[in-house]
Amino acid sequence: MAKQKNYGMVIDTRVCVACSACVYACKSENGVPEGYCRDWVVQETEGAYPKLRMENRSERCQHCENAPCVTYCPTGASHYAGDGTVQVNRYRCTGCKACLAACPYDARYVHPEGYVDKCSLCKHRLEQGLETACVSVCPTTSLNLVDFNEPEAKADEMMNGKEVYRQKEHAGTNPSLYWISASNKPGA
């Protein structure tokens, strides 16, 4: 039997140019309706002029290992898929919106068809051995799909010796997205 997958992402914010290709690749791959998104690009500027520091990053559902959306979902529609991802079964989703209130990353939205939707880490593509739409289109390799159960961990290699963080770790969610901070940039 193949080893259990444990998917996640390592996102290198040093090279992200905020082109939004990932956002539009996702929208067309997953039929995300107009006015909504499963992933989005954030530009964070910090400091005092002229000493400014900027970080671009592409954000999405963090596929938390301890996901409040799953904890609070009353129907089991939101669930752990067993491959490290968190999924929504739209045929059990009542649209009660408990998961939206529960998510500390505001990663979800109510689909106009009446169920809750969010990044699925392109589960349908992963099952075919493909990468996610956003990863496959990212022109700077800022986005990287990783399997944390892989023996010769590509993830460790990417992150070694760099300042890496996870978002809102103190929320106790154990998120599966790792960010290589832009403060690693030369001259930052």
Binding site: V41, V42, Q43, T45, E46, C73, P74, A98, Y105, Y115
Partner: protein
């Protein structure tokens, strides 16, 4: 030292979370209010029944097992109000046709799952109790199965009422817990919210019974209401203190509620909270009921209970809205 700032520009579009959480409108606060009141009615009527049956305490006895007219009305209103509340809850679902999905599973970690089962568990015994205290009218109809049910309840009314009192407390607390488990929403994330909604529900229920009770029964409900308001004032105080003395997330959220200039229906949260909820919804009725008990008769005895009901409704709207308009846990 120059001040450093952080500015975030995001391309996120989703209207449910931007510019702040926006998932619940008027349905949910109304449901929380009605549900809390239904729970409160069940608690009060059940306790009145037990007191009467077991200890002979309570207002006039009409000799048919029911302590008084207010209990008779309250017992009927309790399941009715909960039913109406659940209708609003149902209407709030983005996909109401999948409501069955709540009842094909038990999700032990989800308060909403527990709540949806409690809501169902509420009805059978509450309806039986309402039938029994109104048996006078039902017996006249002389329907076989109804007679049998009444006979059974007649023999078991004390245990039924005791269980009902607990279910009522469960419903009241649940309406608060539903919100307080969301640690991502700093205002709601307070364990005392369940207690606050419970006492507020009991005081609203007492106010409703006070409004509907005939004159000779009014003092009983006025007294219950005054006591519930006292307790509610203490719990509100603890809720506020717990917030402002808490970490940045909690204290910011509490200030957003009690001192915020964010508006709801044209008035700031601050005015709604202190002016309408605390002053008009708690302090003024408490004073009026105190005067009434001291023998100073007020021209319009309906004022106090109506204010209490308004206060209870405003509390639910304020908590639900202010909890959504404050930023997500950081």
């Amino acid at each position: 030292m120059t001040e450093t700032t952080t500015e975030i520009i995001s391309t996120k579009l989703n209207p449910n979370v931007l510019p702040h959480l926006h998932i619940w409108e008027w349905h949910i606060p109304l449901y929380l209010f009605l549900g809390g009141m239904a729970g409160g009615l069940l608690v009060i009527t059940s306790i009145m029944i037990v007191l009467k049956r077991r200890f002979g305490i309570g207002p006039r006895d009409e000799g048919d097992g029911c302590p008084c007219l207010a209990v008779r009305i309250g017992s009927i209103l309790s399941p009715v109000l909960l039913g109406v509340g659940m209708l609003f809850l149902f209407l709030d679902l983005a996909h109401p046709l999948y409501v069955w999905a709540f009842y094909t599973t038990i999700q032990p970690t989800s308060p909403m799952s527990a709540g949806s089962w409690i809501l169902i568990a509420f009805f059978p015994l509450a309806v039986l109790q309402a039938m029994l205290v109104n048996k006078k009218f039902l017996r006249e109809r002389n329907i076989g199965i109804v007679n049998k049910l009444i006979d059974w309840t007649e023999d078991h009314l004390t245990p039924v009422a005791l269980v009902n009192a607990h279910i009522g407390v469960g419903i009241g607390i649940y309406t608060g817990i539903l919100l307080s488990f969301f640690s991502a929403r700093p205002l709601w994330s307070s364990s005392i919210l369940g207690m606050l909604f419970l006492v507020s529900g009991i005081s609203s229920a007492a106010a409703l019974m006070l409004l509907l009770a005939p004159d000779d029964e009014k003092p009983t409900y006025s007294m219950i209401d005054a006591n519930a308001i006292w307790i509610e004032l203490v719990v509100v105080g603890l809720f506020v203190l717990g917030g402002i003395t808490g970490p940045a997330n909690s204290s910011g959220a509490m200030m957003h509620l009690i001192a915020g200039d964010y508006q709801m229906a044209g008035l700031s949260y601050m005015i709604w909270f202190w002016g309408i909820f605390v002053a008009l919804g708690l302090l003024v009725p408490l004073l009026l009921e105190f005067l009434e008990a001291a023998g100073v008769h007020i021209k319009f005895p309906q004022v106090a209970p109506v204010l209490v009901l308004i206060g209870g409704l405003v509390l639910r709207f304020l908590i639900v809205f202010a909890g959504q308009t404050y930023h997500t846990f950081m």
